[in-house]
Amino acid sequence: MAENKEEKKEDPKDQEFKLEKDTELRFEVETGGTITLELSEGMAEVFGTELVKNKKFTFGSGAKVAVFTWHGCKVVLHGRTEFAYVSKDTPMVMYVNTHAALEQMRQQAQDQGKRGPRVMIVGPTDVGKSTLCRLLLNYAVRLGRRPTFVDLDVGQGSIAIPGTIGGILVERPADVEEGFSLQAPLIYHFGHASPGANMELYERIIAKCADVFNQRCELNRQASVSGCIINTCGWVKGEGYRSILHAAREFEVDVIIVLDQERLYNDLKRDLPGFVKVVLQPKSGGVVERPQPVRRSAREDRVREYFYGVRQPLYPHSFDVKFADVSLYQVGAPALPDSCLPLDTQQENPYTKLVHIQPGAQIVHHVLSLSMADSLKDNLIDTNIAGFICVTNVDMERQVMTVLSPAPRPLPKRYMLLTDIRFMDFR
């Protein structure tokens, strides 16, 4: 079967698509393959970034792309696709109206010398939250705004790597292939791919992130007026729901866009103060649900991209680090079992406790966050992250570990936080 399929696609021909106004070409790159996209006629955009005519854009394995046109266009695809089709049913008009409303708010904020709109996008997994974020950010930045993109989705970690949350000031539209330029991002360490692993820590770093964003708004008028777009993770039940309320409160959001879940919409309307505008919007028909393994491999790819780059290859460095030269910590002490506690009592917050750990075989293949902290005086939890390294080997005898690092030695700081995120460097 598989062989047949391959033979059939042995010589992929250029596929040309003619798109009418307000239609969208959706395609997915076959696993292991690449696709080149070229706009030959008209105007089109990918998630809010305009395509340059006759320029070839390359997308890697598994990428899902939607090319939308307001005016009609012709595009050519070269390479193997899992699927490629044109759809007329898109919620783009709705999204663009949303943008228009936000822009109105920015204008008002600018006129009144106040704070611009803070928008949070919520919804279950795989409804296109990050795509909508990208779209709204791109439209804002194309109008000369400088919105802040805050990503609270620790599962995808689009600003750094999975296991982190962060913020970034968007100054130019996202690159069609690589996404937003990640210069000087603000990153906080979480360490797990799901917020449920440590809700206390999750809420604490969200609060810290919000605090820093507020400080920045005080200093930077344009950033303040432009507001922010907050992406959240797809966990909308139970504690996940609670963390949405918490984030809304910490960031003092003005608008919440609920994608595709009426119940969540109703809950939020009821539980959030009346001055917060909660709206429900549909997801795009092009959004595909990703099964768990795909999500996991997307996470791995994200880490790989961090070290090896997306389009332009990066060349990470590998070197030995002496145990004596670093201090490794983990956030969260192992909780005591409930049986050890008297009835109806809670433990004294072990979740945000810093635990010093000795490097050992257990950290091999784990990604470590390098804290900006100069000393333990700066609380490591509340200090942002300079970058990441991955432990590729631990030599207990020599008391050294070998690390993969985006920058050459030495490591800039000595304090590091252990993450659950693993990365096997197979190159």
Binding site: M94, Q107, L143, E262, D271, G274, F275, G285
Partner: protein
């Protein structure tokens, strides 16, 4: 039990014993010395029973010892370093350096190599160096007399030699006055009061995120933006229109704030305060309900201040004019209009009004099968309240909302049946709100605080004698560098057995100076050395109390 001492025996060996100068034959014989030592311990007998067997064992031991102890130190000249003892400086100057010891023993000064007395004597004892004084090679007995005692006490030397024999690398303790990297690491600078740290912390914790030219950016954006928007104003009638619509609905005061210049000058403050008052009067009715229980004027003042602060940051959005598409069932929206072109980036052009018929979008309207609603989780954040008390309904912005939520909690206290307990001067230590967990309550109840020795050291009387750490001790390591010894693995104080034990103040002082390196006290009892350490113990807190 034993033969009593018999004086007559003494005469047998009264001739003076001479120092053993080895003949050439004996020197050569020393090359083939047995290099093993009898192990310590082994089975001992309970008590002497006069048996031949016991006597033989004992005599065997004695003859072994006689042989072993009589052995002398013999080495090839080519393997021996040489040094000259400089009496006035109390140092030995190395003139011939042959051994490998220079890696971790000795120091240089002006191109000359020196050894401290303990280093020189130890090297002599380990058969590595000859020390000359007045052109005479010194015997170890002479070295003890001349080099030790005054500058380095016998006890100190014995500790040095004991640890050196085991392979540790010892250097004299280096005390440093300034805060080095590792002193910061050991948190000597923790004594800055907490408040100060928090203040510094908020800005210090975020590095590299604010671009360094943030001030520039700020000024350009404030000065640059108004011009730009004015241009747009003139050029774009559509935008003007939308603006008018907006201002019509807003209060006249707010309208005046749209003047850009007001931001930098006094009118801004005035206008925002006025704005606050107007809002207040509009919602007077709600306010009264809100403030029923509290002193009315006080509350109003508080609120006035609140809105003054908040209104300068937060906009009050009018979502009747700003329409964000919403397809929720409670919103009766049938179509999405074409937005103003001037709100859109170039290239984005909406062609058609979007009709919403329910089938168009795949909306997930499923209700959860289980009846458990998310509101249950919410109760932890916002208590369920009557509608008129609900901060969600009453507040108009986040600042107010947060304040009200906080106020709610305090009011709950005054509502409680034990509220009277807080009316007098003496109030309970624990508030109901503290009852989050046992640890919190216990910490509130703990009237007598434990002092941390490290931190409360200053409150102790001055130590009654001064004693310093003698040596920094490093584990055997071929990578050890004298010039860059790094942090020692141990530090050692030397204490004579007959001396009084160090007092608490001294222990604390020295522990602090040594922290985080463990400090050991070597107690020397007539050549026997035992090591002790003092550590501050944290008593565990018992949750079962």
């Amino acid at each position: 039990m034993m033969d009593s001492y018999d004086i007559a025996e003494e005469e047998d060996y009264s001739p003076r014993m001479k120092a053993a100068h080895l003949s050439a034959q004996e020197l050569l014989a020393h090359r083939n010395l047995d290099r093993t030592v009898p192990p310590r311990g082994g089975t001992k007998d309970y008590a002497p029973d006069g048996s031949l067997e016991q006597e033989e064992k004992l005599q065997g031991m004695y003859s072994l010892y006689r042989r072993m102890l009589a052995e002398e130190r013999v080495n090839k000249i080519g393997n021996l370093s040489k040094a000259i003892w400089l009496e006035d400086q109390g140092l030995a100057e190395v003139t011939v350096d042959k051994g490998k010891f220079w890696h971790h023993i000795g120091h240089s000064n002006e191109g000359k190599k020196y050894l401290y007395p303990e280093e020189a004597v130890f090297l002599m004892e380990t058969n590595a160096i000859e020390v000359y004084w007045n052109k005479l090679p010194l015997a170890i007995q002479q070295a003890y007399a001349m080099m030790l005692g005054n500058r380095v006490s016998m006890e100190q030397y014995q500790v040095y030699a004991h640890l050196s024999r085991l392979g540790y690398i010892l250097i004299r303790h280096q005390s440093r006055e300034h805060f080095s990297w590792y002193e910061r690491q050991i948190q000597l600078d923790e004594y800055i009061p907490l408040k100060q740290r928090i203040k510094e912390g908020s800005s210090a914790q975020v590095r590299d995120w604010f671009p360094s030219n943030q001030h520039e950016e700020q000024t350009t954006s404030t000065s640059g933006e108004p011009d730009k928007t004015e241009e747009v104003h003139r050029d774009n009638p559509a935008r003007q229109k939308s603006k008018e619509v907006k201002s019509a609905s807003d209060s006249p005061v707010e309208h005046s704030t749209s003047n850009q210049t007001s931001r930098d000058s006094l009118p801004k403050g005035q206008t925002s305060r006025m704005e606050g008052r107007i809002e207040q009067s509009v919602e007077d009715e709600q306010m009264e309900i809100e403030c029923n229980r509290k002193d009315k004027t006080e509350k109003q003042e508080e609120k006035g201040v609140d809105s003054l602060v908040t209104s300068s940051y937060e906009c009050k959005w009018d979502f009747t004019n700003i329409s964000i598409p919403n397809v929720g069932q409670d919103c009766d929206v049938s179509e999405i209009p074409i937005p103003c072109a001037e709100l859109l980036p170039t290239g984005v052009q909406v062609n058609n009004v979007l009709k919403i018929n329910t089938g168009a979008f795949s909306l997930n309207t499923k209700r959860g099968r289980k009846g458990k609603s998310n509101s249950e989780h919410l109760s932890k954040i916002v208590p369920n309240l009557r509608a008129e008390d609900d901060p969600r309904k009453v507040s108009r912005n986040w600042m107010e909302f947060k304040k009200l939520c906080g106020a709610k909690r305090e009011m709950d206290m005054s509502d409680s049946p034990v509220a009277h307990l807080w009316q007098g001067e003496v109030t309970p230590l624990v508030r109901p709100s503290d009852a989050t967990d046992m640890g919190a309550i216990l910490s509130r109840l703990q009237v007598i605080q434990n002092i941390s020795l490290e931190k409360e050291c200053c409150s102790l009387p001055k130590p009654d004698r001064s004693l310093d750490i003698a040596y920094d001790v490093f584990l055997p390591d071929s990578h050890f560098k004298k010039s860059k010894p790094g942090r020692p693995n141990l530090r050692v104080c030397v204490q004579r057995f007959s001396e009084p034990a160090p007092d608490l103040a001294l222990i604390v002082q020295l522990n602090q100076r040594s922290s985080p390196v463990p400090l050991l006290w070597a107690v020397v009892d007539n050549g026997d050395i035992s090591f002790y350490s003092f550590t501050e113990a944290d008593l565990p807190t018992d949750y079962h109390m």
